[in-house]
Each structure stands twice: as C-alpha cells, then as structure tokens.
Amino acid sequence: MSKKKEQAVVYSQQNIATGIYDMWIQTSLAKDAKPGQFISVYPQDKSTLLPRPISICEIDKENSRLRIVYRVAGKGTAEFSGYQKADKIDVLGTLGNGFPLEKAEGKRVFLIGGGIGIPPMLETAKQLAGKTKETNVILGYRNSELFLKEDFEKYANLFIATEDGSVGTKGNVLTAISEKGLEADIIFACGPMPMLRALKQYAAEKQIPAYISLEERMACGVGACLGCVVKTREVDHHSHVKNARICTDGPVYLADDVEI
C-alpha cells in the first residue's frame, strides 16, 4: 500500500450546497483507498504551495474513482471549485489509517458526522452496510441544506440535527441521540472539535469506544515534518513523546487515547 503523488483527472464536479462541492476524480489511488483515509490535493497556483488534506467521501474501485466533498474555505479550495470535467488535479495519497471497520462488525454502531465532517462517513456507511447489528447515522447540519442526505439513506437509518431547527432535531448530534433514545456499542465520528469533545465525554460515560477523525494543519502529509501532531495519553510508539502524527498515525483515533 504505497503512497504516491499523481496527476488525477476530474471526472465530474457539482455544487451541492452553498459553498460545498462534490467532485469525482479519476485516480489510481482508488485501488487501495479505505474509508476514513484522506488525500492531499495540490493547488496549481504556486503561491499556495502546501497540499490541502481532503477526506475520501466515496470509493469506486471498479472505475478507479474517488469522490471528495469539500467546503470552499480559502484560496486552495476556491481554486478546486473552478475545476471542470477533464481538468488535471494533483493528488497525493492515500493517507492516514481510516476507520477500523472490523471493530464494528456485528455491533450497534453510530456513524456521526458534523458539518464538513460528514463526507468521510459515507464510504464508512457503505462498507458497513449489512455487516453490523444496527447502523444509525446521525448527521449535524447548520440548516436545511442537507448535502449527501440521499446517499446516506441508501445504507442506514438516518437521523438529522440542524442548528436552526429547520429539519430534524433542533440542536446537535447528541441532542438527536438523546431525543430519539438511540444507543450504540461503538461510535465512528468526524466533525468539528466541540462535537468530538462532547462525543469523547459521551463515550466515556457510556463506556463504549469512540473512534474520531481529527484535523490539524499539515505540511508534508506523510509523517516527516511533525507539523500535525495531537497530544496523546500515552507515549507514542514512533515519536517517543506524548504526540502522535495525525497524517500518519491518524486521522482516526480512539477518543480515549488523545487529549483534545
């Protein structure tokens, strides 16, 4: 499973919500990709040198394609949003560990996504379909722009929370969980830090494992620069200090193992 940088080709791109884009790219990286992993995407503009880490939203091994869904957050993503079918796009991957799907087999699972943390949960839901005792997907959105909703409905029970209360439960994913009386044996989640912190606490109270996907500023994306670390509870096997590299040892961690 070696990493490489290559020139991928845009297969399709759509604007699916305000500032949110959905892109399929043709790339050999699809072959080894796993849910919860990410790729580094490089802008062409040489004033913006560093790669943009973007999660893998869906994998199509048969056609060698990867789907990424991203929010325009600055110069790099603004450039990507202008790409069209057949445009070239530089990518490096596949990066990171991904969700430990085998740990969810036969169990009651929560797949939780908040905001732009929703995309990586899709391939996770797809690959877990039929393998768990029960899969409940709980997604937190800002408002009624429910991007990827129909995709998730294909694979699992779906619950929605919106900040403005326009759809589903008013509040966050945890409000939805308690309102609907949902329970799980294991959690996989990606989303903003306050959500992940709350989930870490929830999982500790329920004494269930929660695997959460973290974000940090990255430079190399391959474990060399030590830019993207998270504080860990125990001394890390590689760094020999209480710091692990999110790009290589993560982005998915057992919540109990990291200080967030």
Partner: protein, 301 residues
C-alpha cells in the same frame, strides 16, 4: 558519464543533493517516493540528548510562496535515534549526516559523544533554530558563543562537523568566520528566517508559538545572497539551502559558492523533488558540456 561527485571535509558524496534537516524525517517516510540510494546524503531531523515534546499546534502555516514552521524540535532523543534511525539509513548507499540540537553546550556535547562511535558520515550542528526558547539560536546569533560551542563539539566529534548558520543576524559572514576559526569543517546555510502570521478573523497569531521559521521558495534569493557572501568570507565548504525546488535553483546556489545543496520545504510540495534535482543537474551538465560538477562551484564572482 558526467562526474557529479563532490567532496566535503574528506567525505565523498555521489552528488551534491541532500535533504534539509527536519523536512525528510530520517528518510523512512520519503523512501516510499524516492530511492534514497540516488541522493548525495540524507540529513536527519534534529536530535537532542533526551526526547523533546516540541511546541503546541498549530505548528505550520502556509504563507505566500512559502511556509512558517514552529515544530520546536520535537524528537525522540539520541538513544532511540541510534537504535532505530541509523540502522534504517545504513541500508542505503548514501551518506548520513545527523543534525544535532540542544539547549546547552553540555546537551550538544552529550549527543555528539554518543554519535561519535556511530557509523555516520558527518554531524550538522543546529545552532540556529528560531523555534525553541532556550539554546538553539542563542548560540547562532553571537559569534563568541558560536566559537565556544563549535570548539567543544569539535573536541568530541570523531566525524567532521558542519555548523548550521542562522540568517537572523546582521552579518552572517561574522558568524561563518567564528565557526571556521573554531575548527568547523563545513557550514550549512540558511536555516529558516523568523516570521509571523496573523489570523485576522480570530485576531490571533496563526502559529501557537507566535513566531515561526519561514522557508520555501519565498526565501531563496536571501539564501543565495548569504551563500555568496559566506563563500567569499571563508575557505571551508558550504552546503546551501533555502527554497530549492528544481535543479536550476540548486545550480544557482552552487554557482554562488555552495559545494552541496539541500532540499527542504519543497519535499512537502513535491515528494520527488530531490530525485528531480539530481536528474536535472545531470541534464544541465550534459547540455552545457560540464565534465565535473565541481567546475561550477563559485563560478560567479
């Protein structure tokens, strides 16, 4: 076949292309992309006498044509390094240069003593890291302190030493001369230039450390100028670095007076950069009918 070999302090390198400390780990991560056998040398991430935690995050930020970093020299300590990283690098036919950091003279000396019995080719002493509160750069900004630490390190090192100079000084030639006078076998420059970035939406520093070291193409002209100045001030060989992205960039450094060159931040942008620089240099020699790469060193007066 053109001759790309260079020599620094009695060590022969198959070509002038090296990795800049801290941008290539100990080679393991980039070995997936680049055949380490084709590099002149691998220069490793700074290592101290004991493990260092480094700074809080964010540790890196992008800037126009470059980046700021404030890693804070996180490292696993010399004992782990000797057990794990040196044996890894010994599998390859490339030279090994170990970068050393510390907070006090005795820290540095402890690491140097341990490395002296190791199968490495040279040591690079980082007295110029702007991202640690104590030590580090303090030695790199005062010629007397630099002279002292160079002498102490030189006493214990069995391999040739390279003092790595900071650009964050008024006159870099003064520092270069101090290191040379104290017996340094070679010099490397430049380390990162201290910088700052502010997040205007959060009204806060973009790096947790407030300041960080600027590197990448944005600093290349400053680095070339400093290599030129130092090459004209001392006799010992220079390893030049700062924003090298291509063979053309590397050749600029060599024509300014560098014997070796190192690729840093651009490894992050294109993990194949080192390999491409080696290849591009050979192509340039072919096209320009240069027999020995050493012929171009310092050719611009």
């Amino acid at each position: 076949m053109k001759d790309t070999k260079i020599e620094i302090a009695g060590v022969t390198f198959k070509n002038p292309v090296m990795t800049a400390s801290g941008t290539f780990g100990s080679g393991m991560e980039y070995a997936e992309f680049v055949d380490l056998n084709c590099l002149g040398a691998v220069v490793t991430k700074g290592v101290a006498n004991v493990p260092w935690e480094g700074n809080p995050t964010p540790r890196v930020q992008e800037t126009y044509g470059g980046m700021l970093n404030a890693i804070g020299l996180q490292n696993p300590g010399i004992d782990v390094f000797i057990e794990r990283d040196i044996p890894f690098l010994k599998q390859f036919d490339t030279k090994i240069i170990v970068n050393v950091c510390g907070r006090s003279v005795s820290d540095y000396v402890e690491v140097v003593e341990k490395l002296s019995d190791q199968p490495i080719d040279m040591m690079e002493i980082n007295v110029s890291c702007p991202n640690v509160k104590h030590g580090g750069i303090a030695f790199g900004q005062n010629p007397d302190a630099l002279f002292e630490i160079t002498k102490e390190v030189k006493k214990k090192a069995k391999q040739p030493i390279i003092m790595k100079l900071s650009p964050n000084v008024t006159d870099i030639t003064e520092m270069a001369k101090a290191a040379e006078a104290a017996g340094s076998d070679a010099l490397s420059l430049i380390n990162t230039i201290t910088g700052m970035k502010i997040d205007i939406y959060k009204r806060a520093f973009a790096l947790a450390n407030k300041t960080g070291g600027l590197s990448g193409p944005a600093i290349k002209p400053v680095a070339v100028r400093m290599v030129y100045q130092v090459a004209n001030a001392v006799k010992i060989p220079i390893i030049g670095m700062g924003g090298i992205a291509s063979a053309e960039d590397a050749l600029e450094f060599m024509m300014a007076g560098a014997t070796g060159v190192a690729v840093g931040a651009m490894n992050f942008v294109n993990p194949y950069t080192t390999r491409e620089v080696v290849k591009g240099m050979e192509d340039f020699m072919e096209a320009q009918k240069i027999e020995k790469i050493t012929d171009i060193i310092g050719c611009v007066k």
